[in-house]
């Protein structure tokens, strides 16, 4: 009998738990430890943040589902890792603290045979002074509660515009090393369309602010893509969309401080500037959760498990951008020291960024951190689950399932406006996610046919179809496993 503990019930934790439970017999225990009550389909927060979808539509409670499916669930947060146990406990364990109910505040040693760390990112708002969701006129759409507040804030500004007051809207990244530009890109396009629907577009100045060097970098160093019968750079595509929609942009901007209605930033020229606004949605930087790890004698071994995020089978040797290789990226998400620990999704430490690192003239790093979107999060979680299942069934370690982001495709269906006949979406696929310059030297590291972009109403339908399909899958309804990650 094996006990598999999964930390986190986001996209990757939930995918891992559901596949493990489906494929392993009931003698094996599958336990999820996560502080959240509800599962949320984060990509649809964009629509919550423009008031077009109620947050209840993107979430459901985890406890009843896990009970029904035979998945153990502890509503608790992991605090520290003991991969060798300790003086009193022979088995490896994670120290967790309950966050709700009768046991709230109680701590428990959750022992395991296999551990999946799927705790995603910490939304590190503190890294930018004054960047607090709902304060200083800045908002976030990273969680459904944040997105609800964002809509309240946006609606207030829309009402002011209706009453004749002009407004400035600022959307993008709220830190020099933020990631998730794709989500901010979706949000700015949705907000811009909402302003038109409310007949206040001419009252608003809409500005994109980002740590990207070029438009369309998306933390992936940009893309060369097929667009209709043409081959286009993602920078050109985004520029076309922004110009067409009268969206201004500020690039190479490391936002470092927020005051009520003012964003202060440094640009790559080393200049310190500011931008005023009436409504802002700025993505914070993402960081690890600051977990500590100890050996059985309680010596600190944090560096064996964490480099901010969790250490896995990547090549972390520091090297210049020109020497980066697709082979640096992990394939099995296994910790090299403790082979029964894995970290799929956003929880693993990337070997380096994907975008070229850049410094301002005064030495500040200003460039996007590497994104890990929902699809790779799901795919890496499933392959980790499959390797654990094989290892349990074969009675010895099996790492047959591999999935490097350098040999994996991803689709980003960026909503560009909501509405069954008036909506729009920018559908972008990329293969591979991390460019492979050896395989595709002439097309900026990516396969052209599989890296393409499309704009139009079909993109909106696709995003809506994915919303329903993934919530169906997450609810583990009949034949859920037929829907790919």
């Amino acid at each position: 009998m094996s006990k598999i503990v999964i930390l986190g019930a986001g996209i990757s934790g939930h995918v891992a738990a559901s596949h493990l439970r489906r494929k392993l017999s009931k003698e094996h225990e599958v336990i999820v430890v996560s502080p959240n009550t509800n599962y949320q389909w984060i990509p649809s927060n964009i629509w919550v943040g423009i008031g077009r979808m109620k947050s209840e539509k993107i979430l459901f409670p985890l406890a009843p589902l896990y009970k029904k499916k035979g998945i153990g669930y502890k509503q608790a947060k992991a605090l520290s890792f003991y991969p060798e146990g300790d003086k009193d406990e022979q088995k490896p364990y994670v120290l967790a603290e309950y966050v709700t109910g009768e046991k709230q505040g109680q701590r428990e040693k959750v022992t395991y045979d296999y551990l999946i760390n799927a705790t995603g990112p910490k939304l590190n708002f503190e890294a930018t002074e004054g960047l607090i969701p709902g304060k200083n006129k800045t908002y976030s759409v990273c969680t459904y509660t944040h997105a609800d507040h964002a809509w309240e804030g946006l609606n207030e500004v829309i009402q002011q515009m209706k009453a004749g007051k002009k407004a400035k809207i600022l959307i993008g990244t709220g830190h020099a090393k933020s990631t998730c530009q794709g989500a901010a890109f979706e949000y700015i396009l949705n907000v811009e369309q909402e302003l038109r629907k409310h007949n206040v577009r001419d009252m608003a100045e809409v500005t994109w602010i980002s740590n990207e060097y070029r438009l369309g970098d998306f933390g992936m160093d940009g893309m060369l893509m097929s667009y209709g019968s043409m081959t286009m750079k993602s920078s050109e595509m985004v520029e076309m969309i922004f110009e067409d929609r009268d969206i201004k942009w500020i690039l190479g901007a490391g936002v470092n401080k927020i005051e009520d209605g003012i964003a202060y930033y440094e640009n790559l020229e080393g200049e310190h500037k500011s931008e005023t606004y009436d409504f802002a949605m700025l993505i914070p930087s993402f960081s690890g959760h600051g977990f500590k790890a100890y050996d059985k004698n309680e010596n600190d071994i944090t560096e064996k498990l964490f480099k901010g995020f969790m250490v896995v089978d990547a090549d972390y040797t520091p090297k210049p951008y020109e020497e980066w290789s697709v082979k640096d990226w992990p394939e099995t998400y296994q910790n090299p020291t403790y082979k029964n620990i894995f970290a799929p999704g956003i929880a693993f430490a990337p070997p380096h960024t994907i975008s070229k690192p850049r410094k301002s003239k005064s030495g500040t790093d200003i460039f996007p951190a590497p994104p890990r979107t929902g699809m790779p999060s799901g795919i890496t979680a499933k392959l980790v689950a499959d390797n654990i299942i094989d290892s349990i069934k074969n009675g010895k370690e099996s790492l047959k399932h591999k999935g490097s982001m350098g040999n994996m495709g991803a689709a980003c269906i960026a909503s560009a406006g909501f509405g069954m006949t008036s909506g729009s979406g920018v559908s972008i696929t990329t293969f591979p996610i991390v460019p492979d310059y050896e395989k595709y030297p002439k097309t900026q590291g990516r396969q052209l046919g599989k890296t393409f972009g499309e704009i139009g109403l079909a993109g909106h339908w696709l995003k809506l179809a994915l919303h329903h399909a993934f919530i169906y899958k997450a609810k583990m309804r009949p034949f859920w496993w037929l829907i790919p990650e």
């Binding site: 067409d244 699809m375 591999k402 696929t429 492979d436 109403l457 079909a458 696709l462």
Partner: protein, 45 residues
């Protein structure tokens, strides 16, 4: 504001009939890219 998308292009982007076929085409194409498999990049383990 610079009009970068022509009226004809916009018509094609927003016409439900054209977009219905685009939807089917995109769904298949995305399936091929995403569910088309993944693997490692290193030859030796």
């Amino acid at each position: 504001m610079t009009q970068r998308i022509s009226k004809y292009q916009r018509f094609k982007m927003m016409n439900p009939i054209i977009q219905f076929f685009k939807f089917i085409y995109l769904s298949i194409k995305i399936m091929i890219v995403v569910a088309g498999g993944h693997g490692g990049t290193r030859k030796v383990n």
